[in-house]
Amino acid sequence: MPNSKKKLLQGNEACVEGALYAGCDFFGGYPITPSTEIAEILSVRLPQRGGKFIQMEDEIASLGAVIGAALAGRKALTATSGPGFSLKQECLGYACIAEVPCVIINVMRGGPSTGYPTGPSQSDIMQAKWGTHGDHPAVALTPASVQEILTETVRAFNLSEKYRTPVIVLYDEIIGHMREPITIPEPGELEVINRAKPECAKEDYLPYDENYLVAPLAPFGEGYRYHVTGLNHKADGFPVNDSEIIRENNERIMRKIDENIEDIEKNEEVFLDDAEIGIFTVGSTARSARFAVNALRKEGIKAGLLRPLTIWPFPDKAVKKMADQVKFIVVPELNLGQMIGEVQRVGNGACEVLGINRVDGESIHPTQIIDLIKKHK
């Protein structure tokens, strides 16, 4: 990246850079700590580029506006934190079943409820998967550095456009608010995906055409007339009572993610090849884990880190491999045990799984991980 721009940016600022790089031209939001900077900066940057910033009356309306804008052809974004993410859940489910591409940033803070607005947390890992009711596809990305917030925000837009589904970016307050030098990629340097548009005659257009796993999406206003609803629907979008179509509708929105896991999955492995002890974690906690792995290796202890950048869909394959290989897995997380349940499910008894948990608004220190591993090995 010889001509790229180096900048010292805050995580939330990098998120804005990523969104704009991906072509985001609409933001519907509502102030909430610790995500507010994203809205504030986009209120300046979007109008400068011909985009639109709207502050809505609450978080429910924010995602509602984003869904409307996305259906009108925009690349739409909202940003929030815990309580706001809770309020967005109904619209999130709507975006899943209506197959509306959009991106939701959740800068995680302590919860439940108002919780600890200015402290870091990873307490929305499960909310990102199960927050909205009904079976639905969940795609959630977990960057761990300011640079990654930029690149993963771009990837979030790409995945949402490609699979016509809402994509969540989960990062904790620590990386949301810390500053690191990052490189702003040049145009063309990162792939930017735009949703497929219909090529058929306007009168033949079916927004949920069964011949596709992901049907092309026509923007409102271009002459394609179609129906959008949160009810189970058939290919033309109109609601149905036909049980066969309802089943197919529910299964297809899951299938489009399940059948593309390899495209969506992204992991970083640190010294995992010969590891005897595994660590599984995301976000700021993964930074402590990386430090711990390096420190343990210096002492001859073969620790390795598996760090998913896509937490949903869960990296079953990579976790299974690690569980079959190591003596035990440590899952540090800033909650009282959310990811650990998934690791145990996938490991299915292949090895012991130990948690390190913190919900006091402080980060997990590398020594916590090092001490546990030394004690347990």
Partner: protein
């Protein structure tokens, strides 16, 4: 009507030691309002400056039972408290049950005009016996000055930034008091902390009227208005003297303007010392001040037309 001396002798229900900013309009409003209660009072508080800065562990500025729920639901929470009280009282389960207990809900403009509007509307319609007090400082000050639907037209905030093309907030403020009045509540009023006797009179009416009542009180915010803390009272006064914030009440459907300035102050005089409006006095914003002035004039003239008349 009590004198200021009488008020000074009354027990302080909202004490010092809280961490609201110097010059904040909220504490004088809350102190004065609570001093008007002759009975025990229970408060609910929406998320916001008042809630955050008065209850930092291990301290509390409140000498009354107080509950914080979330951002959007303080009116719903007080609805539950008040209903439970009525039910328990009916069954004779309140100790000293003949004594009345009153209920008050506090919310800022973000928690009232925007996210809390549905909850407020529901509580007003159901007719709970409580007073809702909105302290309106014209933006989300607690999260760092983002625009709300109470933010004045033309105002600079962090999400309605004034730049070379867009000159701050382009939308007129929501007329919440009128929305509340449209619920046919028995009493609703606008007040200002600088006019303590007007605020006290309105508070007493609101407290002693059965059913849902509402006070919308302007609350200067030195941090968000970019004004000097020592000038807060002056800015509250100028908001009223300029007729930007008319003092009026609607009692049993009849509107009454409770204060008419002898000589209306220009909006320029009120806005000029406020940093949030500095862009309208710079080149490139021609016509904006005139637009603001004409909006305020138009509203005031309309209000005067209704003075002394029924509005529903």
């Amino acid at each position: 009507m009590a004198t200021l001396k009488d008020f000074a002798k009354k027990e302080e229900l909202f004490t010092g030691g809280h961490r609201l900013c110097s010059g904040c309009g909220i504490p004088p409003i809350v102190r004065l309002v609570l001093r008007n209660y002759e009975t025990p009072v229970v408060a609910a508080n929406a998320t916001g400056c008042l809630e955050v800065a008065t209850t930092i562990y291990p301290y509390s500025a409140w000498r009354i039972p107080w509950i914080h729920s979330a951002f959007e639901n303080t009116a719903a929470t007080i609805s539950g408290v008040e209903t439970a009280y009525r039910a328990l009282k009916k069954r004779g389960k309140i100790p000293g049950g003949d004594k009345d207990i009153k209920f008050i809900a506090f919310g800022g403009d973000g928690g009232t005009y925007d996210i809390g509007l549905q909850s407020l509307s529901g509580a007003l319609e159901r007719g709970h016996n409580f007073l809702y007090l909105c302290y309106d400082n014209g933006a989300y000050m607690n999260t760092g000055i983002q625009r709300s639907s109470a933010t004045p037209f033309g105002c600079n905030t962090t999400t309605s930034p004034a730049g070379t093309v867009i000159k701050g907030k382009l939308e007129k403020r929501k007329d919440l008091t009128r929305i509340v009045v449209a619920h046919n509540v028995p009493y609703a009023a606008q007040a200002s902390p600088h006019n303590w006797s007007d605020l006290a009179k309105k508070t007493q009416k609101a407290i002693n009227t059965k059913g849902p009542t509402f006070l919308n009180v302007i609350s200067p915010c030195p941090l968000g208005w970019y004004t000097k803390p020592e000038d807060s009272n002056k800015h509250a006064r100028l908001a009223v003297e300029s007729c930007y914030w008319p003092l009026y009440e609607v009692e049993d459907g009849v509107l009454r303007v409770t204060y008419k300035p002898k000589k209306k102050v220009s909006m320029e005089e009120w806005l000029k010392p406020q940093g949030r409006f500095k862009h309208i006095f710079k080149p490139g914003a021609e016509g904006l001040l005139e637009e603001i002035q004409s909006q305020v004039d138009e509203y005031w003239e309309k209000l005067l037309e209704f003075d002394g008349k029924p509005v529903y």
